[in-house]
């Protein structure tokens, strides 16, 4: 079965880098991997030096990249709703005097509805990811999702879960129930929480973890980025003042980590990444391969 990995956490903790690096590692092991930019954040330009078209997969170093857009995902949903087979799709389209799904995309009033309808985007984006997970032919082994930061991601999940109340259409409602099961099942979906060794970031991660659990998603893993080094610069009077601040920060980070030890242990797994300074995707991936 293919597995979705959502990478989330406070802004700036390294979600995008880790999601991409993990995807590259899976690909180098011969797995079929899809990397997803959840809401067309454009991060692929920085990560892969690629500008992705919305909802159009592209190959890169053995993996597939996709950037999702709300409107585009809605059109994909429509195609499945309008008819399971070509025949019923055509008959519906002809009943409203449209030639094809492409002509439908040009309807302005429909576009403004998609942009403005509350919560619609969340459902379509999450729905699209699950659709990829459920593909039979050419299925993926892993789907690595570069998800938005804490609050925004939770909002998307909540919108998705609550949308059942809003959308009274029977087929959509059933679908959401089925999709929810996929998200709750540890075999098909995991949440990778990325964090940093600062108190306030760890606190936010704790809140995020609790909220995810309360929504029914307890299959969580932790990635501690920029983890303090074991052999830190010892507090040494012979060092000039400029190293003292660095040193103090290192020591405080180690203290924080030991305070949060119980929290770290509550996760299914904990991955620590030592702070080696500014990084790009390839230096990180190389580093992680060496570490493992």
């Amino acid at each position: 079965m293919s597995k979705i990995l959502f990478f989330t956490g406070k802004g700036g903790v390294g979600k995008s880098l880790f999601s991409a690096s993990q995807a590259l590692q899976f690909a180098s092991q011969g797995k079929r991997v899809l990397w997803v930019d959840f809401e067309n954040s454009g991060v692929s330009t920085e990560l892969f030096q690629r500008d992705l078209l919305k909802n159009t997969p592209e190959k890169f170093n053995g993996l597939s990249l996709i950037s999702l857009g709300g409107r585009e995902s809605f059109y994909e949903y429509l195609e499945t709703v309008l008819g399971v087979d070509d025949e019923s799709q055509k008959s519906f389209l002809s009943s409203i005097k449209l030639k094809s799904v492409d002509t439908l995309k040009k309807i302005k009033s429909l576009q403004s509805f998609i942009d403005l309808c509350p919560g619609l985007k969340s459902i379509m984006l999450i729905g699209k990811i699950i659709k990829e997970q459920q593909r039979q032919k050419n299925a993926w082994d892993y789907i690595c999702v570069d998800a938005p930061a804490t609050g925004h991601f939770l909002d998307h999940l909540k919108s998705f879960l609550n949308s059942q109340k809003l959308f009274t259409s029977e087929s959509l409602s059933k679908k959401i129930t089925a999709y929810r099961k996929v998200l709750e099942n540890p075999e098909s979906c995991e949440f990778q929480l990325v964090t940093l060794p600062y108190d306030f970031v760890l606190h936010e991660t704790q809140l995020l973890s609790r909220e995810l659990t309360s929504l029914g998603f307890s299959q969580q893993h932790l990635i501690l980025n920029k983890s303090p080094m074991n052999r830190i610069v010892q507090k040494d009077q012979t060092l000039p003042a400029c190293f003292q601040v660095e040193n103090l920060i290192n020591q405080q980070q180690q203290e924080s980590c030991s305070e949060f030890k119980a929290f770290f242990e509550s996760f299914l797994s904990l991955k620590k990444m030592v702070d080696f300074g500014p990084m790009n995707l390839f230096s990180l991936t190389k580093l992680m391969e060496n570490e493992l």
Binding site: K10, G11, G12, V13, V43, T45, E46, L78, V81, L82, F92, K97, L98, L104, I107, K108, S109, L110, F113, D115, P118, G119, A149, G151, H152, D155, K158, S159, N162, K165, L166, F167, T168, S169, E170, L172, L196, Y198, D199, F200, V201, E204, M229, R231, I232, V233, D236, P240, C242, F243, V245, L248, I249, Q252, S256, D275, F276, G277, P278, M279
Partner: protein
């Protein structure tokens, strides 16, 4: 005139911390200041050591001439405020609040804060109570949404669009048949009915009708916000940290904001920067530093070389490197110190 100071950048670069520090510094300079965060995170309140209240604005500190207030962006509160301002009867407000769509809007939706913040900002700007309003914006991509949301809201409430939506959703469409509708609207309506069922559309329409009295006011204030933004008086602080990925995005982002029609001054803040002397003296202390530290400082050194080179040809009026500070126990004194460094770095001759 009230001066707006926006703090922009990717997530986690320290926008909130710098906003709080900067606001404190302005207070020290005897200004009347309001600080607010559009991000749902609680960091700002934690930093200023103030409990979130049900009030709209809480005072953090005040003196004879100066004032430091914090504005709470709370979906429920803000909705209530806007409804009360623009609707004359309590009954109408109740009717909206009891609508099923409203409870959905109010509780579960992302992006609602953007719209609300803009409404509030315009209101506060008109009141002229504050010398400065310091705004901690959402992380990069979302803040583009934030700045566009005024435009989108104005568009949504344009008379033309409203009539359009009314036609799509109106009950008569379901009851009377569709012969009188334009083909375009008829198509959209059929498609949506097929996708979501007719009930939702009727409900949405009912709700839109309830909101209609607000339309004119919301449109006006959205337009007003655009006008405010296009004035040259305001400051935009682009914050980044020592990461390659952010360097490129900050320049693109800055360019993007100019395209959006923002005219104010733009400054670049490299936050949590490793002190220049420490990466300059790494070779002298090679034996003392652990191999990891040595490696890390070397990486930082090459980052700075790259940063200095690539920032040279940018449109920033000033580039300031703010040295690292311990995040733990970031008390008020340390925040004020950080605010002072930021302010002096940007505005001193």
């Amino acid at each position: 005139m009230t001066k707006l100071s926006f703090f922009l950048g990717s997530g986690g670069v320290g926008k909130t911390t710098l906003s709080a520090a900067y606001a404190l510094q302005l207070f020290q300079l005897n200004k009347k200041v309001l600080v607010l965060t559009v991000d749902p995170a609680r960091r700002l309140a934690e930093l200023l050591k103030i409990q979130k209240s049900s009030e709209f604005v809480s005072t953090v500190q005040e003196s004879e001439d100066a004032l430091l207030d914090i504005l709470w962006i709370d979906k429920k509160n803000a909705f209530q405020q806007i409804l009360q301002k623009y609707l004359d009867s309590e009954d109408k407000i109740e009717e909206i609040k009891e609508h099923r769509i409203f409870s959905f809007l109010e509780n579960e939706l992302s992006g609602v804060e953007d719209y609300l913040t803009i409404q509030l900002l315009v209101q506060l700007f008109k009141e002229k109570k504050y010398d400065h309003i310091v705004i901690d914006t959402p992380p990069a991509q979302q803040s583009v949404h934030f700045f566009q949301s005024a435009k989108r809201l104005a568009e949504f409430f344009s008379q033309k669009n409203f009539e359009f939506l009314e036609k799509i959703f109106s009950k008569s469409t379901f009851q009377r048949g569709v012969s009188f509708l334009s083909k375009n609207i008829f198509n959209a309506n059929s498609i949506l009915k097929k996708a979501f069922g007719a009930n939702l559309l009727t409900e949405l329409f009912e709700f839109l009708l309830l909101l209609k009295p607000l339309a004119h006011h919301l449109k006006l204030s959205s337009e007003h916000f655009q006008e405010i933004l296009s004035e040259e008086n305001h400051d935009f602080f682009f914050v980044l940290s020592e990461e390659y990925t952010q360097l490129k995005s900050v320049k693109e982002y800055c360019h993007h904001m100019q395209e959006e029609g923002l005219r104010g001054s733009q400054y670049c803040l490299l936050n949590r920067s490793t002190s220049k002397s420490s990466f300059q003296s790494i070779h002298d202390f090679k034996g003392v530093l652990s191999s990891e530290s040595f490696r890390k400082l070397n990486a930082v050194k090459s980052f700075h070389a790259y940063f200095d080179e690539s920032i040279q040809n940018s449109s920033f009026e000033r580039v300031v490197k703010l040295e690292k500070y311990p995040e733990k126990d970031l008390n008020k004194e340390k925040l004020i110190e950080l605010g002072r460094k930021t302010y002096c770095g940007i505005f001193s001759e």
